[in-house]
C-alpha cells in the first residue's frame, strides 16, 4: 500500500513572473519607439467558409502534369533549336535574325510571367489583408490594426487619386489606439471614395447591358455582351481597388467572382424578389425585351458587387455594402430613356 503524500505542483507560468515595481528614468534614456509593426503577410489564411472540394487527381495527377510539362518544354526547345539551326544552314544572317527574334520572344515571355506572378501575388495580398482586417476587428489589438494601416498605405502608395485620404489616414493613424479603430478609419477614409467609384462603374456597366439587351436582335448577342461587360467590370473594379489583374489574374478573379455569386446567390433572397418583381412584373408589362434588359442589368450589378467583395482589401464594416436594389433607380432611368 502506498502512503499518502503531498508535493508542490510547479505553479503556472504567469505567477512566475514578478510584477515590476514603479520606476523613474531620465527622459533622455528613452529610445525612439521602435517600429514594432509586424508584417501581416505571414498570417495564416483563416479557414474558408466553404468546404474545399476533394482533390480529384492527387499526387498521380501532379506527376502526370509535370511529366507532360517537361515533354512539351522539350518539344518546344527542340523545335526552336531546329528552326534556328535550319535558318543558319540556309543563310547565316537569317539565322542571326531568327536568334534575335527568339531572344526577344523569350524576354517578352519572361516579363509577362513576372507580371502575371506579381498580379497574382497582389490579388493574394488583398485577400490576405481582408482576412487580417477581419481578425483585427475581432481582436481589437493595436498591433494588428497598425499593420493593416501600413499595408493599406503601401498598396495605395503610388495612386495619385487617393493622395489626400492617404495623407489623412497616415496622420490620424498615429493617434489611434485600437486595432478595430484602425480598420474602421482605413475604411472610412480610403475605401469610401473608392466604393463610390466602384458603384458608378457598376451602374454604368449595368446600364449598358440593359440597353444592349433591350435593343439587340439576337439572344446570343446579349449573352456575349453580358459576359464581355462582366469581365470588363471585374477587371475595372479590381484595378480600382489596387489589384492589377493580368491574364491569369483575370481568370482567377472571374473564378472568385463566380464562386462568390454561387455562394451568395441563395442568400440575397430579398434582392432576388426585387429582381423578380422588377424584371417580370413592371418592366415586362412595358415590353418583354425591356424586362430582360433590366434582369441582365441587375445580373451585371451582382457581378459588380461580387467583384467589390472579392477584391476590396477591407471588409464592409462601417460603410454599407451596396445592394442590388440600390441600383434599380439607375436602371429605371434607362427604361425611361427607352420609352421616350
Amino acid at each position: 500500500m502506498k502512503p499518502p503524500f503531498a508535493r508542490p505542483v510547479s505553479s503556472s507560468g504567469d505567477a512566475a513572473e514578478e510584477p515590476r515595481r514603479p520606476r523613474v528614468f531620465e527622459p533622455a534614456q528613452a529610445v525612439a519607439l521602435p517600429e514594432s509593426i509586424e508584417p501581416i503577410t505571414d498570417i495564416e489564411a483563416p479557414l474558408d467558409d466553404a468546404a474545399r472540394p476533394p482533390r480529384l487527381l492527387g499526387w498521380v495527377g501532379r506527376v502526370a502534369w509535370i511529366a507532360g510539362g517537361i515533354l512539351v518544354s522539350l518539344a518546344l526547345g527542340l523545335a526552336a533549336e531546329r528552326l534556328i539551326a535550319e535558318l543558319f544552314a540556309a543563310q547565316p544572317w537569317l539565322g542571326w535574325v531568327g536568334l534575335g527574334v527568339l531572344a526577344v520572344l523569350v524576354i517578352a515571355l519572361l516579363v509577362i510571367i513576372v507580371r502575371e506572378v506579381a498580379s497574382l501575388l497582389r490579388l493574394r495580398a488583398l485577400d490576405q489583408l481582408r482576412h487580417a482586417a477581419i481578425a483585427a476587428l475581432a481582436s481589437d489589438r493595436n498591433k494588428d490594426g497598425a499593420a493593416i494601416t501600413r499595408e493599406l498605405l503601401e498598396i495605395y502608395a503610388r495612386r495619385p487619386d487617393v493622395a489626400r485620404p492617404r495623407d489623412e489616414l497616415e496622420s490620424n493613424a498615429r493617434h489611434v489606439f485600437d486595432g478595430a479603430e484602425h480598420v474602421r478609419l482605413g475604411e472610412r477614409l480610403l475605401m469610401a471614395p473608392l466604393d463610390t467609384r466602384a458603384r458608378a462603374l457598376t451602374a454604368a456597366s449595368a446600364r449598358r447591358v440593359a440597353l444592349v439587351t433591350a435593343v439587340s436582335p439576337r439572344a446570343l448577342i446579349d449573352i456575349a455582351f453580358v459576359i464581355f461587360e462582366s469581365v470588363r467590370l471585374g477587371g475595372d473594379i479590381a484595378r480600382l481597388y489596387g489589384a492589377r489583374p493580368g491574364f491569369i489574374g483575370t481568370w482567377r478573379l472571374i473564378g472568385a467572382i463566380l464562386a462568390h455569386l454561387a455562394v451568395t446567390g441563395g442568400l440575397v433572397l430579398t434582392d432576388g424578389v426585387v429582381e423578380q418583381l422588377v424584371g417580370q412584373g413592371l418592366a415586362a408589362k412595358l415590353s418583354a425585351r425591356l424586362g430582360e434588359g433590366v434582369v441582365n442589368g441587375l445580373m451585371t450589378v451582382r457581378v459588380g458587387i461580387a467583384a467589390m467583395r472579392v477584391v476590396r482589401p477591407l471588409p464592409f464594416e462601417v460603410v454599407k455594402q451596396p445592394m442590388v436594389k440600390d441600383f434599380i433607380p439607375e436602371l429605371a432611368n434607362v427604361l425611361n430613356a427607352e420609352k421616350k
Binding site: P19, P22, V24, F25, P27, Q29, A30, L33, V176
Partner: protein, 490 residues
C-alpha cells in the same frame, strides 16, 4: 422599504418637461448627456475637451460623423434655463492652453452649457431637408454632490446606521475619533437645542473633511454639501449629523427628531431638486472613474469606490426607450464606463486598466444591462498629458510614459517640482483585477503589487490646426464620443 427618490409632483414635472421636449423634437431634438463622476474623476476636463473638439472639428478619427465628412459644425448656444451659470469653457480652455498650462480648478458649483451641432444626416428622410440640428445639453457639478443621490432612498435611521458603522471602521478610526466621542457623550433622546446640533454637525463635517484630505475614503461620504456647502452654509438643513436611535419611543421634541427633520429637509431642499433638474431626464451617460487614483490609495479605497459607484448609479433611470414611452419617461439607453487618465499608463496596459474598471462597476453595469441599457467600457484620456516610449534597462524593456509630474508628487522619496520631465514606469497592473480587491494589501500570486501613478501636468506644447485652433491630444476620446452621441448624428 426604500423610499422613492422623487415625489409625485416631481414626477409630473419630469413628465411634462419630457412632453415639452418631445413637442419640439421633430425640429431640434435635444440630447442630454450626463457626465457622471466623483470629484477629481475628470468631469470638467471631459466636458471642456468635448466642447473644444466639437467646436473646432478636432482630431477625432473615430468619430464617424466627422470622418465621413457629414459633421458641419457646432456652436455654443444659449441654455434655456437662465437660472444656472454657464459652463466656463473659455476659462477652462485658457487654463489648459495658456502660457503656463495647468488643470482647471476643481468645480465648486453647478454650471451647464448647450451645444448646437449641425450635421448632414445619412437617413433619407432627414437628409432631404438639408442639414439637421441637434442640441447637446451638458451639466458640470462638483463630484461630491453626487454622493448625495443615494440618500434619496434612505431614511434618517438607515443613513445614521450606515454612517456610524463606517466611522467605526478601522481605517477611518483616527479621523472619526473626535466625532465618535461627541456621539457617545450625546443622548439622542434629550431635549433638542441648536447648540447640540451645531456641535455635532461641526464634528461630523470635520470628520468628513479630514477623511477626504486623507484621500483614502473619499467616495462614500455623504452628505456632499457638508464639504462644499455653497449658499446654504450654516442653514438648519446643513446642520445635522448621524445619531444612534434612542432607546424607546422618539419624542417629537427630542434631538433625534430634530436632526431627522433636518435630514429630510436637506433631502427636500438640496438633493431632490438637484436630482430632478439634472439627472432625472438624461439620455446618455458617461461614468468617469478615476481607477488609477483608487489603486494608488489601496484596496480600502478601491472597495469604497465600488460601493459608491454602485449606489450612485442605481439612482439613475436606465433602460431602453421606445418611441411612445419616451414622450413622458426618458431613460438612459447607453452608458459608457470610462476609466479616465489612461495617459498615466502605457497603452499596452490599457486593457488591464479596463479590466480593473470593469470589475469596479460590475454590479452597476449588470443592473443597467438588466434594465435594458447598453453599456461599454473604455480606457480614455480626454486630454493626453504624456507620450509613450520604451526604455531598456539591464536587458529588460520598460514601457514608460514621458511627462512632467505635478508639483508635490512623490515617488521613491523624491518630490517633484512640476518642471522636470521624467520617464515613469508606473508598475505592472495585475493581470487579474481581483488581486486589487483583496482585503489587506495589493497582492497577486502572494506577492504585493507595486503601483504608483503620478499626476502629470497638462501638455505644454500643443499642436495647432490649419485654422489656428489648438488640437487637444487624447486617447480614445473620439471613440467615446462616437459611442455616446454618434448614433444621434446618423
Amino acid at each position: 422599504m426604500p423610499q422613492a427618490p422623487t415625489t409625485i409632483t416631481d414626477e409630473i414635472g419630469i413628465a411634462l418637461g419630457n412632453l415639452a421636449d418631445a413637442a419640439v423634437a421633430p425640429f431640434t431634438p435635444t440630447l442630454r448627456l450626463g457626465v457622471t463622476g466623483l470629484s477629481r474623476a475628470g468631469k470638467t476636463i471631459f466636458i471642456t475637451a468635448l466642447i473644444h473638439n466639437l467646436l473646432t472639428g478636432g482630431r477625432l478619427p473615430g468619430f464617424a460623423a466627422l470622418t465621413e465628412g457629414r459633421f458641419i459644425g457646432a456652436r455654443l448656444a444659449e441654455h434655456p434655463d437662465a437660472g444656472i451659470p454657464r459652463f466656463a469653457y473659455e476659462q477652462h480652455l485658457a487654463a489648459l492652453t495658456g502660457k503656463e498650462p495647468h488643470w482647471p480648478e476643481s468645480t465648486r458649483k453647478i454650471s451647464q452649457l448647450r451645444l448646437t451641432l449641425k450635421f448632414q444626416s445619412k437617413r433619407w428622410v432627414s437628409g432631404m431637408f438639408g442639414p439637421t440640428v441637434l442640441n447637446l445639453d451638458i451639466v458640470d457639478y462638483p463630484g461630491e454632490w453626487l454622493l448625495d443621490l443615494p440618500l434619496l432612498s434612505l431614511s434618517f435611521a438607515e443613513w445614521s446606521a450606515q454612517a456610524l458603522k463606517r466611522a467605526a471602521l478601522p481605517h477611518s478610526k483616527t479621523e472619526a475619533a473626535a466625532f465618535m466621542s461627541e456621539i457617545q457623550q450625546t443622548d439622542s433622546s434629550k431635549e433638542a437645542t441648536d447648540v447640540d446640533a451645531e456641535r455635532l454637525a461641526a464634528a461630523f463635517t470635520d470628520y468628513l473633511r479630514r477623511s477626504r484630505e486623507d484621500g483614502r475614503a473619499l467616495s462614500t461620504l455623504p452628505p456632499g454639501r457638508f464639504l462644499l456647502p455653497g449658499d446654504l452654509d450654516g442653514s438648519p438643513a446643513l446642520t445635522f449629523a448621524p445619531l444612534p436611535p434612542p432607546v424607546g419611543p422618539v419624542r417629537s421634541s427630542s434631538l433625534y427628531a430634530m436632526l431627522e427633520r433636518r435630514y429630510e429637509a436637506y433631502k427636500a431642499i438640496v438633493v431632490r431638486p438637484f436630482f430632478r433638474d439634472h439627472f432625472a431626464r438624461l439620455d446618455r451617460q458617461v461614468v468617469l472613474v478615476d481607477t488609477l487614483r483608487a489603486l494608488n490609495a489601496g484596496p480600502a479605497a478601491v472597495a469604497d469606490l465600488e460601493t459608491a459607484l454602485t449606489d450612485i448609479l442605481s439612482c439613475f433611470r436606465q433602460g431602453d426607450n421606445n418611441p411612445i414611452t419616451r414622450l413622458v419617461a426618458r431613460r438612459i439607453d447607453r452608458i459608457l464606463f470610462a476609466a479616465t487618465k489612461a495617459d498615466h499608463i502605457h497603452s499596452s496596459s490599457h486593457d488591464r486598466l479596463e479590466a480593473v474598471m470593469n470589475r469596479l462597476v460590475a454590479d452597476a453595469a449588470r443592473k443597467a444591462r438588466f434594465a435594458g441599457a447598453e453599456t461599454r467600457s473604455m480606457a480614455i484620456a480626454a486630454i493626453r498629458a504624456t507620450r509613450e516610449s520604451v526604455i531598456e534597462d539591464g536587458g529588460e524593456k520598460h514601457e514608460v510614459i514621458v511627462g512632467t509630474p505635478q508639483a508635490g508628487e512623490v515617488l521613491d522619496g523624491k518630490t517633484y517640482d512640476g518642471k522636470t520631465e521624467i520617464a515613469l514606469f508606473p508598475g505592472d497592473l495585475p493581470e487579474h483585477p481581483d488581486a486589487l480587491f483583496e482585503a489587506d494589501s495589493l497582492r497577486e500570486g502572494g506577492r504585493p503589487v507595486a503601483l504608483n501613478f503620478l499626476r502629470f501636468q497638462p501638455p505644454q506644447r500643443l499642436e495647432k490646426n490649419a485654422e489656428g485652433n489648438v488640437v487637444l491630444p487624447h486617447i480614445r476620446f473620439d471613440r467615446a464620443l462616437d459611442y455616446l452621441i454618434g448614433d444621434w448624428l446618423r
